[in-house]
């Protein structure tokens, strides 16, 4: 049994209870057992001084790629779970585009076991929608959920067949899980390397138009309406998508959505000079899209901020732009990017950020956590919302170093990450 903890004198911000006050938080036997001013310490408790820091329900990333099994050279469940902890995430959801694909109960069980061994952030597997992510035959959702899967997704690839997506949305209803949707119309996006627009025209790179995302977003919103299913739209990147989600929500359709920190902070101009660390799918878009996405995070049209953490070997990124793989690491920069571009700039307050990074992910994916209510599991993130730090990828716990934020000074730093009452990450001084 781990030692009791007293998180002393921090600013407790818990949107699940509408709380924002200076208080102590008491943790015993892996759960939150008390909270208030000047709480007494249980016998043998470790006192953690949180003065000047924010104490929040642990962040939950509903979208990351941990690469195991298959590409253990670029990330493992253990290294990914440690990177998550360093980034303030107490839980992450691992996408199934592994090798082999996580499309059956044995594969799901493997991830659960590897996560238990890692003893870092919790890792919840997401199972594939289709066997081998081939878009042909439904995978066994029921058995995968029985083994620990919390959602299904063919992320990395779109579900090209509208009929298969319809079936997935219908079939997932039995298990009460969301279908996490990679929105990409494959014929429009084919061969694309960046956003289609002036920059792609100048650089001579094949563009991916906004409509490649929006056509699939509206297709699947309409299928959610038809089926009564729950579609969760992954990594939204365009103003048009925001408008379509808003349209769906206004009609009570079962749609939720996520956006990545990079789509809230950077534009297609990062690609100038053919920087492969600015290559991801969906691509970085325009300043107008960024503004629309920020607004959608503020007004709740977009429910969740998720990282789409995608580690790659540096050799794979060190090549011609069109040949480089998509994706960047995000677990260890997410908080700072969000604080820097959204909170410090006055677009949203801290409570809204914590809602989007913790409460909403727990609610939408029906996961434990997302609250500091007494009796809840003690999954807690302690961070300084004003501390600035320089991003040095060499310091990452992730095996991936591919980030466009390298060398930038960002605001907002994780000081401690607590999972089940155990401090799994502390900022080294």
């Amino acid at each position: 049994m781990t030692k009791p903890l007293v998180l002393r004198g921090g600013r407790v911000v818990d949107p699940s209870q509408g709380r924002d006050e200076i208080a102590d938080l008491i943790v015993e036997n892996g759960a939150i057992t008390g909270s208030g001013r000047n709480q007494g310490a249980p016998d043998g408790a470790e006192i953690v001084d949180c003065a000047g820091l924010v104490v929040a329900p642990g962040f939950i990333d509903v979208h990351c790629h941990l690469r195991e099994p298959g590409r253990e050279d670029v990330e493992t469940i253990a290294s990914g779970a440690r990177a998550a902890a360093a980034g303030g995430f107490t839980a992450v959801c691992a996408m199934p585009n592994t090798d082999p694909v996580t499309d059956n109960q044995a594969a799901v069980g493997f991830i659960v076991r590897q996560a238990q061994r890692a003893r870092a952030a919790r890792v919840y597997p997401i199972g594939a929608i289709s066997i081998g992510q081939k878009g042909e035959t439904l995978a066994e959702f029921g058995e995968m959920v029985g083994a620990g899967a919390v959602a299904v997704s063919d992320d990395g690839k779109p579900v090209a067949s509208a009929q298969l997506m319809r079936s997935a949305l219908e079939y997932a209803r039995t298990f009460g899980i969301p279908v996490a949707d990679h929105c990409e119309e494959p014929t429009l996006a084919k061969g694309g390397a960046m956003n289609e627009g002036l920059v792609s025209a100048r650089l001579g790179l094949k563009g991916i138009p906004s409509e490649a995302e929006e056509i699939m977003a509206i297709r699947d919103i309409l299928l959610a309406r038809r089926t009564g299913g729950h579609v969760h739209l992954c990594h939204m990147s365009t103003r048009g998508s925001v408008e379509l989600i808003r349209w769906g929500k206004e009609r009570g359709i079962g749609v939720t959505a996520e956006v990545c920190p990079h789509h809230l902070s950077l534009t297609e101009s990062e690609v100038e000079g053919y920087d492969t660390n600015a290559k991801m799918n969906p691509p970085l878009r325009t300043a107008d899209d960024v503004a629309a996405l920020q607004e959608a995070v503020k007004d709740g049209t977009i429910d969740v901020i998720a990282t789409d953490h995608a580690p790659h070997h540096y050799d794979e990124k060190e090549r011609e732009f069109a040949d480089a793989p998509n994706g960047i690491v995000g677990l260890e920069t997410a908080l700072a990017v969000n604080v820097h571009w959204l909170v410090a700039s006055g677009i949203i307050d801290l409570a809204t950020l914590i809602e989007r990074m913790s409460c909403a992910p727990a609610r939408i994916f029906r996961l434990p956590g997302g609250t500091l209510r007494t009796g809840s599991p003690a999954d807690v993130t302690v961070f300084d919302p004003t501390e600035t730090w320089n991003v040095d990828p060499a310091q990452f716990r992730s095996k991936g170093r591919n980030t466009p934020y390298a060398g930038r000074t960002l605001t907002g730093r994780v000081h401690a990450t607590i999972v089940g009452g155990e401090i799994i990450h502390r900022l080294a001084r």
């Binding site: 790179l205 053919y274 090549r319 011609e320 069109a322």
Partner: protein
């Protein structure tokens, strides 16, 4: 030490009008060298240059090679087929190996946009972009500018229309930047499916009908139509392309004035350009080829001025 063009020539977009005019002016005396019986000056004696061609090219490679040899450089041609991925060696490894052989300059042609810059960022040698993907082909742009300047004297206000597959054309991009910087009026004409979606934002006029382009222009730069554009679904057929967009004698005869005809080659006669236009009195297509050697000599010379090892050799060596 950096020469007037910097370390590399990767694109025309970042160059100033002064830099472009400097290259064109420098090319003038080099034209004469190619007219001599003994076509050689010692300007780059002792310099080693690698022509690294990842895509098939006849005209551009030979043009560079003549330019190098007429400046007395030692040259090696490397024809590497396919992308680095298919080849098995990465471009960065290729770059490091070249660097290790202490070469002075690399001329690179590659199918990936940005490949020349990728190389330039990683080696100290001067890098000349001989065409990267669908990005730029700066020496082609420069030789087109020189050919136009030979004819019009000054490019300010000259109306040039670039015709054809602008979407996939590195020649088009280099022409657009170069022409605009020298004050020409630039239009593009071709099927909208072969134009970048953001073409209007590049500051050019878009003409939809070739008849309009011919009425408007002082010169047409007619791009090669790659045959695979048809199978990829951009246009229905080469036959229809010729009927709708082909530059024909008949169409030119209806123009209010003589229109100068340029083509970067290789031509698809009977597709984007008819033979009697290509071979006609207003065609300067072979002048472009002649000017190509002079332009490349000028670029090599100017970049050598930015290379401390070569500057000494280049100094005053223009006989």
């Amino acid at each position: 030490m950096t020469g007037p063009l910097g370390k590399d020539l990767l694109a025309l977009e970042p160059l100033t009008a002064e830099q472009i005019n400097l290259v064109l002016d420098t090319a003038e005396p080099f034209k004469e060298i190619s007219e001599r019986a003994i076509k050689k000056v010692p300007t780059l004696r002792g310099a080693t240059i690698v022509n690294l061609f990842f895509e098939a090219s006849t005209r551009t490679r030979i043009s560079f090679e003549f330019a190098e040899k007429r400046l007395s450089a030692d040259t090696v041609n490397v024809a590497a087929s396919g992308s680095s991925v298919q080849k098995g060696e990465t471009l960065v490894d290729t770059a490091r190996n070249l660097e290790a052989m202490r070469i002075d300059m690399v001329v690179i042609r590659h199918g990936a946009s940005g490949a020349a810059q990728f190389l330039a960022d990683r080696i100290e040698s001067n890098v000349i972009n001989a065409g990267d993907g669908t990005h730029e082909h700066p020496t082609q742009g420069l030789l087109d500018l020189l050919t136009l300047r030979d004819h019009f004297g000054n490019l300010a206000g000259v109306k040039v229309c670039i015709c054809g597959d602008v979407l996939h054309s590195r020649v088009a991009r280099s022409n657009i930047w170069g022409l605009k910087k020298l004050g020409a009026e630039v239009a593009v004409c071709g099927p909208r499916s072969l134009m970048p979606n953001a073409i209007d934002e590049l500051g050019v006029t878009v003409l939809h009908r070739i008849e309009d382009a011919i009425q408007w222009a002082d010169a047409l730069n007619i791009l090669r139509l790659q045959l695979e554009r048809m199978t990829a679904g951009y246009i229905p057929s080469l036959r229809e392309y010729n009927r709708v967009f082909g530059v024909t004698r008949e169409r030119l005869d209806r123009a209010p004035k003589d229109v100068l005809i340029l083509h970067p080659g290789p031509m698809n006669r009977g597709v984007e350009i008819d033979s009697d236009v290509a071979d006609g009195p207003h065609s300067v297509i072979l002048d472009q080829v002649t000017n190509g050697v002079a332009i490349r000599m000028a670029v090599l010379y100017l970049l050598a001025g930015g290379n401390p090892k070569l500057a000494e050799a280049a100094k005053g060596a223009l006989a």
